[in-house]
Protein backbone atom coordinates (compact mmCIF):
# COMPACT_ATOMS: atom_id res chain seq x y z
CA UNK A 1 0.00 0.00 0.00
CA UNK A 2 1.44 3.41 -0.89
CA UNK A 3 2.41 5.62 2.02
CA UNK A 4 0.24 8.72 2.11
CA UNK A 5 1.45 10.44 5.27
CA UNK A 6 3.76 9.58 8.09
CA UNK A 7 4.04 12.20 10.81
CA UNK A 8 6.98 10.41 12.37
CA UNK A 9 9.06 11.28 9.30
CA UNK A 10 9.95 14.77 10.38
CA UNK A 11 11.91 16.62 7.74
CA UNK A 12 15.43 17.41 8.83
CA UNK A 13 15.49 21.18 9.26
CA UNK A 14 19.21 21.37 8.66
CA UNK A 15 18.28 20.67 5.05
CA UNK A 16 16.33 23.90 4.60
CA UNK A 17 17.01 25.49 1.23
CA UNK A 18 18.47 28.67 2.73
CA UNK A 19 20.62 26.79 5.22
CA UNK A 20 21.94 24.55 2.48
CA UNK A 21 22.83 27.58 0.38
CA UNK A 22 24.81 29.12 3.24
CA UNK A 23 26.47 25.81 4.07
CA UNK A 24 27.51 25.27 0.46
CA UNK A 25 29.06 28.72 0.29
CA UNK A 26 31.52 27.48 2.96
CA UNK A 27 31.91 30.96 4.45
CA UNK A 28 29.94 30.52 7.64
CA UNK A 29 31.84 27.79 9.52
CA UNK A 30 34.13 29.72 11.87
CA UNK A 31 32.90 30.10 15.45
CA UNK A 32 34.60 33.52 15.61
CA UNK A 33 32.41 34.78 12.78
CA UNK A 34 29.26 36.87 13.00
CA UNK A 35 27.14 34.16 11.43
CA UNK A 36 27.74 30.43 11.96
CA UNK A 37 25.58 27.88 10.18
CA UNK A 38 24.81 24.58 11.97
CA UNK A 39 27.48 25.03 14.67
CA UNK A 40 28.32 22.09 16.88
CA UNK A 41 27.69 23.82 20.19
CA UNK A 42 25.36 23.55 23.15
CA UNK A 43 23.41 26.17 25.07
CA UNK A 44 21.94 26.22 28.56
CA UNK A 45 18.27 25.44 27.92
CA UNK A 46 18.74 23.21 24.88
CA UNK A 47 16.21 20.36 24.63
CA UNK A 48 17.13 16.82 23.69
CA UNK A 49 17.21 16.45 19.93
CA UNK A 50 17.03 20.19 19.35
CA UNK A 51 19.34 21.18 16.50
CA UNK A 52 21.02 24.57 16.27
CA UNK A 53 20.64 25.95 12.78
CA UNK A 54 22.20 29.38 13.05
CA UNK A 55 24.34 31.08 15.67
CA UNK A 56 25.00 34.74 15.22
CA UNK A 57 26.37 37.78 16.95
CA UNK A 58 26.86 41.45 16.14
CA UNK A 59 28.91 42.16 13.05
CA UNK A 60 32.62 42.54 13.80
CA UNK A 61 32.58 46.07 12.39
CA UNK A 62 30.46 47.18 15.37
CA UNK A 63 33.59 46.70 17.51
CA UNK A 64 35.54 49.36 15.66
CA UNK A 65 34.41 52.10 18.09
CA UNK A 66 36.00 50.68 21.23
CA UNK A 67 38.98 49.35 19.28
CA UNK A 68 39.71 52.83 17.92
CA UNK A 69 39.33 54.24 21.43
CA UNK A 70 41.90 51.75 22.78
CA UNK A 71 44.32 52.49 19.91
CA UNK A 72 44.06 56.18 20.77
CA UNK A 73 44.32 55.64 24.54
CA UNK A 74 47.51 53.54 24.20
CA UNK A 75 49.44 56.67 23.24
CA UNK A 76 48.06 59.00 25.93
CA UNK A 77 50.78 58.16 28.56
CA UNK A 78 53.42 59.38 26.09
CA UNK A 79 51.97 62.88 26.31
CA UNK A 80 50.40 63.15 29.76
CA UNK A 81 53.51 64.56 31.41
CA UNK A 82 52.51 67.83 29.80
CA UNK A 83 49.71 68.09 32.38
CA UNK A 84 50.92 69.81 35.60
CA UNK A 85 49.01 67.38 37.86
CA UNK A 86 50.84 64.36 36.49
CA UNK A 87 54.15 66.18 36.01
CA UNK A 88 54.11 66.96 39.75
CA UNK A 89 54.14 63.34 40.98
CA UNK A 90 57.30 61.38 41.71
CA UNK A 91 58.66 58.58 39.52
CA UNK A 92 57.23 55.71 41.58
CA UNK A 93 53.69 57.07 41.43
CA UNK A 94 54.14 57.90 37.76
CA UNK A 95 55.15 54.30 37.07
CA UNK A 96 52.11 53.04 39.05
CA UNK A 97 49.85 55.35 37.04
CA UNK A 98 51.19 53.91 33.78
CA UNK A 99 50.60 50.33 35.02
CA UNK A 100 47.06 51.23 36.11
CA UNK A 101 46.33 52.88 32.77
CA UNK A 102 47.38 49.88 30.67
CA UNK A 103 45.67 47.39 32.99
CA UNK A 104 42.43 49.37 32.79
CA UNK A 105 42.74 49.50 29.00
CA UNK A 106 43.26 45.72 28.85
CA UNK A 107 40.25 45.22 31.11
CA UNK A 108 38.12 47.49 28.91
CA UNK A 109 39.18 45.64 25.77
CA UNK A 110 38.66 42.18 27.27
CA UNK A 111 35.25 43.08 28.63
CA UNK A 112 34.05 44.51 25.34
CA UNK A 113 35.37 41.49 23.49
CA UNK A 114 33.61 39.06 25.85
CA UNK A 115 30.36 41.01 25.58
CA UNK A 116 30.58 40.91 21.79
CA UNK A 117 31.50 37.24 21.75
CA UNK A 118 28.80 35.98 24.10
CA UNK A 119 25.95 38.30 23.06
CA UNK A 120 24.52 35.81 20.63
CA UNK A 121 21.29 34.83 19.03
CA UNK A 122 20.51 31.21 18.30
CA UNK A 123 18.00 29.86 15.80
CA UNK A 124 17.18 26.21 16.42
CA UNK A 125 14.69 23.97 14.64
CA UNK A 126 12.16 24.68 17.41
CA UNK A 127 12.99 27.97 19.05
CA UNK A 128 14.65 31.36 18.86
CA UNK A 129 17.01 32.30 21.67
CA UNK A 130 18.35 35.81 22.22
CA UNK A 131 21.15 36.05 24.78
CA UNK A 132 21.96 39.60 25.90
CA UNK A 133 24.65 40.53 28.39
CA UNK A 134 24.76 44.14 29.52
CA UNK A 135 27.97 44.99 31.34
CA UNK A 136 29.43 42.32 33.56
CA UNK A 137 26.58 42.00 36.03
CA UNK A 138 23.36 41.69 34.03
CA UNK A 139 22.10 39.16 31.53
CA UNK A 140 18.81 38.79 29.71
CA UNK A 141 17.79 35.65 27.83
CA UNK A 142 14.68 35.60 25.64
CA UNK A 143 13.33 32.35 24.27
CA UNK A 144 10.33 31.82 22.01
CA UNK A 145 8.86 28.95 20.02
CA UNK A 146 9.02 29.37 16.26
CA UNK A 147 5.28 28.70 15.99
CA UNK A 148 4.65 31.77 18.15
CA UNK A 149 6.52 34.05 15.75
CA UNK A 150 4.10 36.25 13.85
CA UNK A 151 6.28 38.50 11.80
CA UNK A 152 9.96 38.88 10.92
CA UNK A 153 11.55 41.91 9.34
CA UNK A 154 14.90 43.64 9.23
CA UNK A 155 16.24 47.13 8.88
CA UNK A 156 19.59 48.51 7.79
CA UNK A 157 20.51 52.01 8.84
CA UNK A 158 23.62 53.99 8.05
CA UNK A 159 26.55 53.76 5.70
CA UNK A 160 28.44 51.06 7.60
CA UNK A 161 25.46 48.69 7.75
CA UNK A 162 24.83 49.06 4.01
CA UNK A 163 28.52 48.67 3.17
CA UNK A 164 29.15 45.62 5.39
CA UNK A 165 25.64 44.17 5.03
CA UNK A 166 24.43 44.03 8.60
CA UNK A 167 21.21 45.17 10.25
CA UNK A 168 18.64 44.61 12.98
CA UNK A 169 16.32 41.63 12.63
CA UNK A 170 13.07 42.32 14.51
CA UNK A 171 10.93 39.32 15.41
CA UNK A 172 7.39 39.96 16.58
CA UNK A 173 5.91 37.24 18.72
CA UNK A 174 2.36 36.60 19.84
CA UNK A 175 3.29 37.32 23.44
CA UNK A 176 4.42 40.88 23.07
CA UNK A 177 4.43 43.38 20.26
CA UNK A 178 5.81 46.86 20.26
CA UNK A 179 5.21 49.37 17.52
CA UNK A 180 7.98 51.48 16.04
CA UNK A 181 6.79 54.47 18.04
CA UNK A 182 6.67 52.68 21.39
CA UNK A 183 10.06 51.08 21.86
CA UNK A 184 10.85 49.12 24.97
CA UNK A 185 13.01 50.41 27.80
CA UNK A 186 15.96 48.69 26.18
CA UNK A 187 15.35 50.71 23.01
CA UNK A 188 14.52 47.60 21.02
CA UNK A 189 11.41 47.26 18.87
CA UNK A 190 10.82 43.76 20.26
CA UNK A 191 12.38 41.58 22.96
CA UNK A 192 13.56 39.54 20.00
CA UNK A 193 15.73 42.01 18.22
CA UNK A 194 18.90 40.54 16.83
CA UNK A 195 21.03 43.65 16.64
CA UNK A 196 23.58 44.37 13.90
CA UNK A 197 23.22 40.88 12.48
CA UNK A 198 25.45 39.91 9.61
CA UNK A 199 23.48 39.05 6.44
CA UNK A 200 20.07 39.96 7.93
CA UNK A 201 18.25 38.99 4.73
CA UNK A 202 19.53 35.40 5.03
CA UNK A 203 18.56 35.22 8.70
CA UNK A 204 15.05 36.48 7.91
CA UNK A 205 14.72 33.94 5.08
CA UNK A 206 15.80 31.08 7.34
CA UNK A 207 13.33 32.08 10.07
CA UNK A 208 10.54 32.50 7.50
CA UNK A 209 11.27 29.08 6.07
CA UNK A 210 11.24 27.56 9.55
CA UNK A 211 7.90 29.27 10.24
CA UNK A 212 6.44 27.85 7.02
CA UNK A 213 7.71 24.40 7.87
CA UNK A 214 6.33 24.62 11.41
CA UNK A 215 2.91 25.65 10.03
CA UNK A 216 3.03 22.80 7.54
CA UNK A 217 3.86 20.30 10.28
CA UNK A 218 1.04 21.59 12.47
CA UNK A 219 -1.40 21.39 9.56
CA UNK A 220 -0.31 17.90 8.56
CA UNK A 221 -0.57 16.79 12.16
CA UNK A 222 -4.11 18.14 12.38
CA UNK A 223 -5.54 16.52 9.22
CA UNK A 224 -4.00 13.14 9.89
Amino acid sequence: MPEIFDASKKKDKEDLVEVKKLKDSGRYRSHWGSLVVTPKIKFESQNNGETIIVLGRRHFVTNLGWMALICFAIFIPFFWEEFPLIAGVNDNVHFSLIILWYLALTFFGLMNFLLWFYNVYIVTDERLVDVDFFGILYKNINVTQIRKVEDVNYSQRGILSSFFNFGDVVIQTASEQRSDEVFGKDGEASPFTFEAVSNPNEVVRIISELMEQEEKEEYEGRIK
Binding site: I41, S96, L114, I122, I136
Partner: protein, 75 residues
Protein backbone atom coordinates in the same frame (compact mmCIF):
# COMPACT_ATOMS: atom_id res chain seq x y z
CA UNK B 1 51.33 67.99 59.08
CA UNK B 2 50.41 66.35 62.38
CA UNK B 3 47.43 64.03 61.73
CA UNK B 4 47.59 62.15 65.02
CA UNK B 5 49.44 63.41 68.08
CA UNK B 6 53.08 62.62 67.52
CA UNK B 7 52.64 61.42 63.93
CA UNK B 8 53.75 63.85 61.28
CA UNK B 9 53.00 63.17 57.61
CA UNK B 10 53.83 65.39 54.67
CA UNK B 11 50.77 65.36 52.47
CA UNK B 12 52.00 65.86 48.97
CA UNK B 13 50.51 65.48 45.51
CA UNK B 14 52.44 62.23 45.03
CA UNK B 15 50.97 60.80 48.21
CA UNK B 16 47.38 61.62 47.23
CA UNK B 17 47.77 60.34 43.66
CA UNK B 18 49.64 57.27 44.95
CA UNK B 19 46.81 56.34 47.34
CA UNK B 20 44.23 56.84 44.60
CA UNK B 21 46.21 54.66 42.19
CA UNK B 22 46.46 51.90 44.80
CA UNK B 23 42.72 52.04 45.42
CA UNK B 24 42.03 51.91 41.69
CA UNK B 25 44.33 48.89 41.33
CA UNK B 26 42.42 47.08 44.07
CA UNK B 27 39.14 47.97 42.39
CA UNK B 28 40.46 46.64 39.08
CA UNK B 29 41.51 43.43 40.83
CA UNK B 30 37.97 43.06 42.16
CA UNK B 31 36.54 43.70 38.68
CA UNK B 32 38.82 41.07 37.19
CA UNK B 33 37.49 38.54 39.71
CA UNK B 34 33.94 39.49 38.69
CA UNK B 35 34.96 39.12 35.05
CA UNK B 36 36.20 35.57 35.70
CA UNK B 37 32.88 34.68 37.32
CA UNK B 38 30.90 36.30 34.53
CA UNK B 39 32.94 34.49 31.87
CA UNK B 40 32.15 31.17 33.54
CA UNK B 41 28.45 32.06 33.56
CA UNK B 42 28.56 33.20 29.92
CA UNK B 43 30.27 29.96 28.96
CA UNK B 44 27.56 28.02 30.76
CA UNK B 45 24.80 29.85 28.86
CA UNK B 46 26.44 29.32 25.47
CA UNK B 47 29.04 26.59 25.41
CA UNK B 48 31.31 27.54 22.54
CA UNK B 49 34.40 25.48 21.58
CA UNK B 50 36.83 28.29 22.36
CA UNK B 51 35.30 28.97 25.78
CA UNK B 52 38.26 27.36 27.54
CA UNK B 53 40.77 29.56 25.73
CA UNK B 54 38.81 32.63 26.79
CA UNK B 55 38.71 31.33 30.35
CA UNK B 56 42.50 30.98 30.30
CA UNK B 57 42.83 34.48 28.90
CA UNK B 58 40.69 35.95 31.68
CA UNK B 59 42.65 34.00 34.34
CA UNK B 60 45.93 35.27 32.89
CA UNK B 61 44.61 38.81 33.11
CA UNK B 62 43.62 38.23 36.73
CA UNK B 63 47.07 36.81 37.59
CA UNK B 64 48.75 39.75 35.89
CA UNK B 65 46.53 42.24 37.74
CA UNK B 66 47.17 40.48 41.05
CA UNK B 67 50.96 40.55 40.64
CA UNK B 68 51.03 44.17 39.50
CA UNK B 69 48.63 45.24 42.27
CA UNK B 70 50.84 43.57 44.86
CA UNK B 71 53.91 45.30 43.45
CA UNK B 72 52.20 48.71 43.40
CA UNK B 73 50.52 48.39 46.80
CA UNK B 74 53.58 47.01 48.62
CA UNK B 75 56.09 49.33 46.94
Amino acid sequence: MEIFPGINIDISLSLIVGVMVKMCMLLLLLLSVIMIRQEVLMDRVVNLPMGNSLKTMVWVFFAMTLILTLIVVIA
